[in-house]
């Protein structure tokens, strides 16, 4: 590609005052060539003040929209400012910035449109609890059943997205627990998905957004979301003109 690709790192943060500084400073240090955007999802702690004081590039949502609404803000920003690739990174420091290049590479080489950083390919690092892995396995199988594509780490929020999906997600991105549905949605739009092995860390501070009590709600909601998403696309997948 002759024109240099514009890459945006999107860091969604909800009440991450303990992690956000370390995450953003780390990204700024290792990837000064990329732009970044912190999306403060209506935090009630000092996340916004930290961003302002440190002079970060950030947007601040006036109300809490949840991860889906927050990330969509990032996609809308990416679209408005003509970025070619947008990368989702959690603001809690789970995602290791060292894997960014590997995550983007398939898109730069034109081999994929949408890449997902996956814990379960090399099975190294933080693997999550057994019950949660079982849930992820179930959703992974459900997605395979619905669209025929096997993605192992369907709940990973560490992703790189090319321009076609940026455009689609800016218009329409799933809410609440969006990760598995976004995969199905991209597959249905004939995007080429690739999983890239990464190592994730456990959380150092704060609570994960999905606790044990919410797990049942999570599973039911995501399962229904996936089925409805699949139905809304009709029997056949959309055609894609640029690929044969």
């Amino acid at each position: 590609m002759s024109v240099k690709n514009k890459v945006l790192l999107m860091i969604a943060a909800y009440n991450e005052e303990e992690n956000i500084e370390r995450v953003v400073d780390d990204l700024k240090l290792h990837y000064p060539q990329y732009d970044y955007l912190v999306i403060n999802d209506g935090s009630t702690d000092s996340t916004k003040e930290i961003c302002s004081r440190k002079g970060y590039s950030y947007v601040s949502l006036p109300v809490n929209l949840g991860i889906g609404g927050a990330i969509q803000t990032g996609y809308r920003y990416a679209l408005e400012n003509q970025y070619d690739i947008a990368i989702q990174i959690d603001g809690d420091g789970q995602h290791d910035a060292a894997y960014l290049e590997q995550l983007i590479r398939p898109i730069l080489e034109g081999k994929a449109d949408y890449t997902i950083g996956s814990r379960f390919i090399k099975k190294e690092g933080f693997q999550s609890s057994g019950a949660r892995r079982a849930g992820i396995h179930f959703l992974s199988e459900l997605i395979r059943l619905l669209c025929g594509i096997k993605i192992y780490d369907v709940t990973s929020g560490f992703r790189a997205v090319g321009i076609r999906s940026i455009r689609a997600f800016a218009e329409n991105y799933p809410t609440d627990y969006p990760e598995p549905e976004a995969i199905l949605d991209a597959v249905m739009r004939r995007e080429r998905l690739t999983e890239v092995p990464v190592v994730m860390r456990g959380r150092e501070h704060g609570q994960s957004s999905i606790n044990l009590q919410r797990s049942i709600y999570y599973m039911i909601k995501v399962t229904l979301d996936l089925i409805i998403c699949r139905i809304s696309y009709g029997v056949r997948r959309e055609k894609r003109e640029d690929l044969t």
Partner: protein, 127 residues
Amino acid sequence: MMNIPIRLRTALLAAIILFFVIVLYFLKRRRLTLKYSLLWLLTGTVMLVLVAFPELMMFLSRLIGTQSIMNTLYLLILAFVIILLMMLTSIVSGQTERIRRLAQSNALLEKRIRELEEEFREKAGKS
């Protein structure tokens, strides 16, 4: 009992008139937008027609096989309430979507204003 007693008809009529008065009052005070109150007005009108012409109720009862006209009335009211609730849920969903879009636009605009202000301040400082 395939008939509506005159006393019940009067009571129903009074209730429907009260219902219309309340809806019109809210409309006058602009606490209801006409778009959403249309549904309420339609409900009231159908009720009024049914009370005015009980033959319709009897026909309906025979059609769906209810034992008495009262059961048909209850069934109708329940159906109206369910339809209204579904429409309300649909309206709430639409508004959630709009609020999300607005919050996002607001955040994006706020960033642009912030950057413009900084730029402006820098320029003002130089000159």
